[in-house]
């Protein structure tokens, strides 16, 4: 038994096969296939560990169809950490079979190096925005989009020509004396696809007179972790830990739900490295999500203009089930003058984005998204807010596809609109 699997054997054994996960898994809800539910995943890993099954295509494929949304964990009686078990399975597959060169390049060369990554993303963006997909394909960068490329391309309408890190130097970040209160961790989703969100976030922070320093962080590493490349995830985490330690800020803030969740989970990556583990724990204590940070500070935002709009909220999996941040976003929305907050049914049901799940498993992802759109319609809200770039992209796509008159934005953008009049 390898180390990776040994670490989860006790965990998979906790599953007593009651089957109640079936009621909560968004993928099982679509396929009704036992391979797509926590009970099945745990059974697969257990049999893999016990040598009954080989790690072949048929075993690994369902493991990669899991959203890692933790709906099962939240409702599992013995609270089996199926997400960890699934990742361990993916990691083991990677260890034995390896990964496509392109993925290795992505996780080992691009994600840890933000400048290099920007270059390559730009190439892809040119291809997309000018319709030069063939050229892009020839360059091999976006080969991994595979056969659903036509549909998948529509998920992101248009890639920005300037990334957040390029915009940042021109932003007024307020007074520069004293220690940085907030180290702003730049998430890739906002940097490369939705830079306007980062701009809004910073504006809101600066408005309160907080000293914000933009961290020279690289990707948080979640894509590598989700794929099972634990080695790359650890390398990335070490780099970020060092970068953020040097900044010595009071708080490490990011408005990307996936980033804040993964940063807080860094200690789990270093169970066998006590020294790094301690440093990861120290960092984790400082990490805050946007609404988590803002909700107690809302009064310091000053006066707001009345917005007179119906607003609802989608809980990103990484905010609700990973970090248990559920009350804060709602408290913020309900406190904004003029806003009529309406609760969406199944607000915490996964939207199907799950990082790059919508690209890798387009059909499943769209089926999951369809349910979310059904629930959204019931609210009759004009604005849908959330706190994760993956969700923002996916939900915008859903709204566009169904031609709904709904604006999809981050809470920071709504706050900017209300309190800064932008």
């Amino acid at each position: 038994m390898t180390e990776v699997l040994k670490a989860v054997y006790d965990e998979v054994a906790k599953c007593n096969k009651c089957g109640f996960c079936q009621a909560h898994c968004p993928i099982f809800d679509i396929t009704r296939d036992e391979r797509n539910v926590a009970r099945g995943h745990n059974a697969h890993i257990k049999k893999l560990i016990e040598g009954e099954l080989e790690l072949n295509e048929e075993l690994k494929d369902p493991l990669f169809e899991c959203l890692l949304c933790r709906s099962c964990v939240a409702n599992c009686f013995p609270a089996v950490r199926t997400d960890r078990n699934v990742v361990a399975g993916r990691a083991e597959y990677m260890r034995r079979v390896g990964q496509p060169k392109i993925m290795r390049f992505l996780f080992h060369n691009l994600l840890p190096d933000q400048r290099k990554m920007a270059k390559y993303v730009r190439l892809g963006a040119y291809g997309k925005n000018s319709g030069m997909t063939k050229l892009v394909r020839a360059l091999g960068i976006l080969k991994w989009f595979g056969k659903d490329l036509d549909k998948v391309e529509g998920i992101i309408e248009r890639l920005p020509t300037r990334y957040f890190r390029e915009i940042a130097p021109s932003l007024d970040l307020g007074p520069r004396e004293g220690k940085p209160k907030v180290a702003y961790f730049v998430g890739c989703g906002f940097n490369f696809v939705l830079p306007q969100v980062s701009v809004s976030t910073l504006a809101v922070l600066v408005h309160q007179g907080i000293r914000v320093d933009i961290a020279e962080n690289c990707c948080c590493g979640l894509p590598a972790y989700g794929y099972g490349d634990l080695e790359a995830a650890r390398a990335i985490a070490r780099k970020n830990i060092e970068t953020l330690e040097r900044m010595d800020a009071e708080t490490v803030l990011t408005e990307c739900g996936s980033c804040s969740a993964f940063l807080k989970d860094y200690p789990e990556l270093f169970e066998d490295e006590p020294s790094f583990r301690e440093r990861a724990e120290a960092l984790a204590k400082k990490v805050k999500g946007f609404s988590e940070f803002m909700q107690p500070r809302l009064s310091s935002m000053g006066k707001a203009k009345e917005l007179l709009v119906k607003v609802t909220y989608h809980d990103p999996c990484h905010m609700s089930r990973y970090q248990k941040i559920v009350k804060e976003p709602r408290a913020i929305l309900q406190a904004i003058p003029g806003v009529q907050y309406v609760e969406m049914p199944e607000a915490d049901r996964c939207c199907g984005a799950a990082g790059s799940y919508n690209i890798m498993h387009y059909e499943q992802s769209m089926a999951v998204l369809a349910k979310k759109m059904e629930n959204l319609k019931k609210t009759q809200a004009q604005i849908l807010t959330t706190e994760c770039p993956g969700c923002l992209i996916q939900l915008s796509y859903g709204v566009r596809k169904e031609k709904l008159p709904v604006e999809v934005i981050h809470i920071s953008q709504l706050l900017e609109r209300a309190y800064l009049g932008n």
Binding site: K17, C18, G19, R32, E34, R35, K47, L59, C76, F77
Partner: protein, 470 residues
């Protein structure tokens, strides 16, 4: 029949993507929620009655066993195959076909979750009475196969009392209708035979159930006692006063502590017993009845009483009970849920026996039970990876059932016989009784292909084909 050909023929019936035959897929269809394991040779997802019928006819032509499966949440080994063969998965037959308020019926496909039906009926002011604890994951087809119960059986009966008819694919593949919307179909009660037959004499592909108007008013009371005996006596006294509450549920101290650790329902951790009582019906006079019940509890030394003021509080009081099995599951990696029923007044004796068995085998056992109808669920905790512990668990389970039989009860209140309790059937039935059951099976399934090896043990002398595996 050669496997590749079987796969091709099944693909021709249900479509290529709906047949699973690789080892990894089959490995997750060898279990349900019991401790029994049995690997199928192939899994086929059916979407229509016609497909189910064709699969069964194919199985007949080639002599291949088959097992119908819903969510696989039964607790007795009902959906795990004993001799390989085809698993016919009905989960994709998940439509509610009709709700007829005037005739008080609903027609559903077997893959509809019990809770999904309840949720469809509630806005109309109706409900479907059998509400097993598994309702959010168990399918109506599964409920029919196992004759599922739930906490409301004392007053409303079990699944069998609420099924009016079913479209059935017989073991030879022909399709017939048992019962229907006209009540009292002439002749012996075939619907009554089907419900609880654990998939051994046919597969229900449509189910016609009775629905009822939601009660006007519900009162939920939580009472805490210092001993199981006093809680049990309170239950007996309530019934002796001529009241038939809709629910009477009890949890013991081990379960209470587990629940507090996970759900935090507000139960005092040193309480010996928690009793939940629910009255339902017309509002008139219900408050008086509730007061009478509270008096009775007090006269049995209840430590505290809480009456729910509204549906939110009602949900709170129930949260502990609904999370009980799960909370107990946190204490050890595996648990065996036993399922015996004794006449209610014999519950204290039954619980004493359970305690004795727990001490004898050194296994912690918690108790949740439907105090109203005498159905007890001792939860035996253990680590399933330890074969020695597993053996002790099976022995403990059998001894509990022996005690239950001795007290004039039965060995399965709601979870079914499956494979798990085949040998215990002899505790309550003679060979003559069992032979009559075997003849039913033989009459309807002469080739013994329809979920073989379940429900009725083979005659003495014939080896059982079944071995419980973990």
């Amino acid at each position: 029949m050669e496997r590749a050909r079987l796969v091709r023929e099944l693909q021709a019936i249900v479509g290529k993507g709906n047949v699973l035959h690789d080892r990894a897929s089959l490995a997750v269809y060898e279990y349900d929620a019991s401790l029994f394991r049995g690997r199928p040779d192939v899994v086929a997802f059916a979407s229509t009655t016609e497909q189910v019928s064709q699969i069964v006819k194919l199985a007949n032509r080639e002599g291949i066993p088959f097992v119908a499966r819903g969510a696989g949440t039964n607790l007795s080994g009902g959906t795990a195959p004993t001799r390989g063969g085809i698993i016919i998965d009905l989960c994709r037959m998940r439509r509610i076909l009709d709700i007829d308020l005037e005739n008080q019926t609903a027609l559903v496909e077997p893959g509809v979750y019990n809770l999904a039906l309840q949720n469809a009926l509630a806005p109309l002011g109706y409900y479907y009475a059998p509400d097993p604890a598994s309702q959010k994951v168990s399918t109506l087809g599964g409920n029919v196969g196992e004759n599922s119960g739930g906490p409301h059986c004392l007053k409303y009966g079990v699944t069998s009392n609420h099924v009016l008819g079913a479209e059935v694919v017989l073991p030879d593949g022909d399709v017939v209708w048992f019962g229907g919307s006209a009540q009292d179909p002439p002749g012996p009660d075939l619907v009554g035979l089907l419900v609880g037959s654990e998939g051994t004499i046919g597969i229900a592909t449509k189910i016609l159930v009775r629905i009822m108007r939601l009660p006007e008013h519900v009162v939920t009371i939580l009472a805490i006692f210092n001993s199981l005996e006093e809680a049990g006596q309170a239950v007996s006294d309530i019934i002796a006063h001529g009241m038939i509450p809709a629910t009477l549920e009890i949890m013991d101290n081990l379960v209470i502590r587990a629940v507090e650790a996970s759900v935090k329902a507000g139960y005092p951790e040193d309480a010996e017993a928690v009793l939940i009582i629910e009255l339902d019906g017309l509002a008139d006079g219900m408050d008086e009845q509730a007061e009478k019940i509270e008096e009775i509890c007090k006269s049995n030394n209840a430590l505290s009483l809480r009456r729910a003021k509204d549906s939110a509080e009602r949900a709170e009081l129930w949260a502990g009970r609904r999370g009980a099995f799960g909370a107990v599951a946190r204490l050890r990696p595996s648990y065996l849920v036993c399922d015996g029923t004794v006449p209610r007044t014999k519950l204290p004796d039954a619980l004493r026996e359970v305690k004795r068995v727990s001490e004898k085998y050194g296994l912690p056992i918690g108790n949740v039970f439907h105090a109203g109808d005498g159905n007890l669920h001792p939860l035996i905790l253990f680590d399933g990876r330890n074969p020695e512990e597993l053996e002790r668990v099976h022995k403990a389970g059998t001894e509990i059932l022996e005690a239950v039989a001795r007290l004039g009860g039965t060995i399965s209140g709601e979870h079914g016989i499956g494979t798990e309790k085949l040998k215990e059937m002899r505790l309550i039935f003679t060979e003559d009784d069992l032979e009559m059951m075997r003849r039913i099976k033989r009459a309807l399934d002469p080739m013994d292909l329809c979920n073989p090896g379940k429900l009725v043990p083979p005659p003495i002398g014939e080896a059982s084909q079944v071995q419980a595996v973990h």
